[in-house]
Symmetry: D2
Subunit: 312 residues, 4 copies
């Protein structure tokens, strides 16, 4: 390789150094802050060029190369950047967070120490209704008066849990056992270290509109406040390809092709052939998948040619 093997200076990101250690507030008592990092956009390019060796002279622009890597899922150069965060999160959200197995974690131990004396509180305007269309989602908020009653009950449960936890400790119950009835809303803290590729995967899933609001607020903070400062070119490409992109199945490609060519009948025939529009006693029945296809067509400015949507 032609690279000179000379003394290096460590890669610095001034925009990130400025906020090192400074907490970004999330929820009522949570936060995210950067403790340390390794690399930046430039390190991704450098790593890609180790792979490409002498061959890279033609690829002139970092931005273009980063877009290329992201588009073709050459993920290994993004793994060359690493970040370490200190987070404070309700255990309920942490249960989702920890499912990402590719991170390094040191969590605050409630065996070793007394639990953090803080549980996530929901304000009267913060109570969400069960979604009827999406079994695992929320849809809209309760009126504030009802919310106030829910918040009052929440305070009651927090008070009792706190009281009994403290009583147990006073009586000498082992911390590892005393904690067993803490509510899931109790805050925990952790050091969480992850490479950029896996962090982006985390963000893609957890910034998604279908992710739960609580963890989404953490993911949004990490993406918009931290990654955007750390690796701005990667952040831009990630938004374009992942956060705001679209995946089409081969069925969808065929349907879309028919629609774009103005062949409405063919599109409808395809939809039926693919089993997405079912005959039933009450007329045509739309599958869940067909409703998702409609949404994709609409995102592309194309009106679905099979008439008004009907309930699944």
């Amino acid at each position: 390789m032609t690279e000179a093997l000379s003394k290096l200076d460590r890669v610095q990101v001034p925009a990130l150094d400025e906020i090192l250690g400074v907490p970004f507030k999330v929820l009522d008592d949570g936060f995210v802050r950067v403790v340390d990092y390794m690399g930046t956009d430039e390190s991704i390019v450098q790593a890609a060029r180790v792979s490409y060796g002498k061959g890279t002279k033609k690829i002139k622009q970092d931005r273009e190369l980063i877009r290329y890597l992201m588009r073709h899922r050459h993920t290994s150069p993004f793994e060359m950047c690493e970040i370490k965060l200190h987070v404070r999160v309700p255990m309920d959200a942490w249960r989702q967070w920890i499912r990402h197995r590719t991170a390094n974690v040191n969590e605050y131990s409630t065996r070793y120490s007394v639990a953090i004396e803080s549980a996530q509180k929901t304000p009267p305007e913060g109570w969400r209704l069960q979604s009827t269309s999406n079994r695992q989602g929320s849809a809209g908020h309760f009126p504030v008066e009802t919310g106030a009653e829910l918040t009052r009950q929440e305070a009651e449960i927090h008070a009792l849990c706190d009281q009994i936890y403290k009583l147990r400790l006073e009586m000498g119950v082992a911390r590892e056992q005393a904690r067993k009835d803490l509510p899931l809303s109790t805050y925990t803290e952790a050091y969480w270290k992850i490479d950029l590729h896996n962090l982006l995967h985390f963000l893609e899933l957890r910034m998604d509109v279908l992710a739960q609001e609580e963890i989404r607020s953490y993911a949004g903070t990490i993406g918009n406040e931290i990654v955007s400062r750390w690796c701005p070119l990667t952040w831009e490409a990630f938004q374009d390809y992942h956060l705001r992109g679209l995946v089409l199945s081969n069925m969808e490609i065929q349907i879309l092709t028919a629609c774009a060519a103005g062949q409405s009948e063919k599109a409808v025939a395809l939809v039926k052939e693919f089993g997405l529009l079912l005959d039933s006693e009450q007329g045509m029945k739309f599958t869940l998948e067909l409703r998702e296809i409609e949404a994709k067509l609409q995102a592309l400015g194309i009106a679905p040619p099979w008439g008004p949507p009907s309930r699944l």
Copy 2:
């Protein structure tokens, strides 16, 4: 390679087939049951012999080979076995369990479904005192009368949490939010799939006397009831080398050598040189490490030559 590439029959373990799906009860309302498995002792040997190729003719006995692999940490053949368990565990223990990142997991979703209506209950005789020597452990139990009061309080907290959770659901609060104040003692369920090497690592940490009693009871069941049936030769070797073995540092080797040679003064001098026995105003001070060394010497039938232990 000389192996004939002929049609194979699938490896079966009759002792495991017999208990497939049958729950082993753990704690008051938890369980572990085997859903499926791949391979057995024989598959480990077979995989090792792929590595060794023609060279293995001499190694006659499976048991000897498995002991050799375990002793020399040739871990990859043990990864060739896989097991899938269905477990029911309090969320508090699950928080520890899930830290093992090498498993595949499908957990019951309380976003999608109503939470399991069961929380782990502690009987009056089951309350443990905080250990004073080990900050993260328990030591002994409360008298039953005190335990009865603690159990009464526990019932109170479980009742309130359950009542408010149900009330929230009745009022239409989204399940993903309604669950936020469930106690950590609430049971969850999961499919948990892991290879044998990583399972043994899990068992080594979680069957350890320092592991929390709750998760230890799951680990013990998995080891003694399941792995012992599945891969008996591996289980035997694992117990010998890991569960009942001992690790000596180089410092400990030197101290033990002096002790075994009857050189008490040299042993004491080494201990001081290594900074394990400190002079203080109140006389000699034992470090935590020295007390652990004493325990190792005693396990080998050797009396520590530096006199009676004193408190750290």
Copy 3:
């Protein structure tokens, strides 16, 4: 959960049992054969239903559920299936293969045993020309006469390497050192065990038209011959969403929307605004990204509105 915890029979896949151990030939002297497996389509559905708990009554069809899981990247249920293959591969292809870090591997050891006496031979019609448009690809084949000369040289190099390797062994050189000059075309063998999710990821990258022909022939065999028998519903969904699907960036969504609406000028303006079509002294210059966008539009039956493609 409502599931009865009764005795289970092990999941069997008759279509796979039939070919267990039977080698599928790949390249001139390689193969892939299934040694063991765990689970099938039904296990994926079962795992998803552990997650969904009681809530799944509505989701009636396995096929629909598997498509849903794949579409929404609920990958964990696919990890509940596992397969163990025995493969024979040239080391050159194995170098690419082993980059997939999520598998368990036992490779034939040329430290322990004499290397496999077989190197991949290229027939006269099998020599490929360097692609000029894709720096890391091939394009077309050499005429057979030239190929014959290349094959003759290949035989010469194989003969010398083999001769010197054997001479070293005869002279008593350590196997671990004698092997140092074996050609990369030398065959190796391995047991390779991986879960279905990660196997599909491997297949997506290695069945791709941009993957090297040698590893592509292995990936194609694994997909078309093995996964198709093992988990037919998953294989169908995977082909639809991944192998034959399409990813659109947000830029591409905007361009496609303009094209589909017949707004050619807007489409061209967007392309310029996004920096994909550059002014240069010799006229407009197409970026590599724009050429890839053209290919996507063509796949959707849409003619790019910015005129004939020009060379990058």
Copy 4:
């Protein structure tokens, strides 16, 4: 937690900054150099204290805490440090190196670029004899005269491979195919990024006396030159507990206990009971395991009580 959430300065390790980018030469044409790093001993302590929370006031010394973490295999704090190396390694050694799946890797691509024009050369005094006691090892060296002949043959094979590789490229063979007969001794380069815990595991296996000399020379350089500068307290503890420590099985504990108590007959009886000393027609037969036990006893200054060793 009591920690103030204030602005942080990035952790720096001056001893490592001094050698950043500077190559340490390994073998005839290889090297290892540090490109970047995250954290140091202090970060390990800091991460452990996140886990321990307020409870850590008593643990005063970093050294003591790091020894404690290593002794009790609390590995997660060591994962909070990360290092990125640029290495140049013969492909033969790289094949072993890459088996460590926990690292991030960007390797020089011989699909994209022309292969590095350098193969590892063995000097006349560097040729090793096959070990007879260890099937996968070397034992001693060839006399220089024989070595000179082996080196001459090596030069011949390198020259032919190089010549044919270049000829293929000149004729226009695709790089991805032209490389197929490069010798395993050909150098490759890579960026290799790994956390400290997994790096230590790599070093434990690859600095071991049983590891192959070539990769051992890389591991030794990484340990002695790099980790020792980066995290000196961890390096010291690692050497004491891992590189120079000893693991005893329960069988060995029992045998050692008998030996230490002067109970020779009991020790011999145990050895027979455990199946380590076998009766055969030619008298007692020592198993491989027993010979390893002898070595452990000798390391502790204890003479094996069962008489002189006999060949396995």
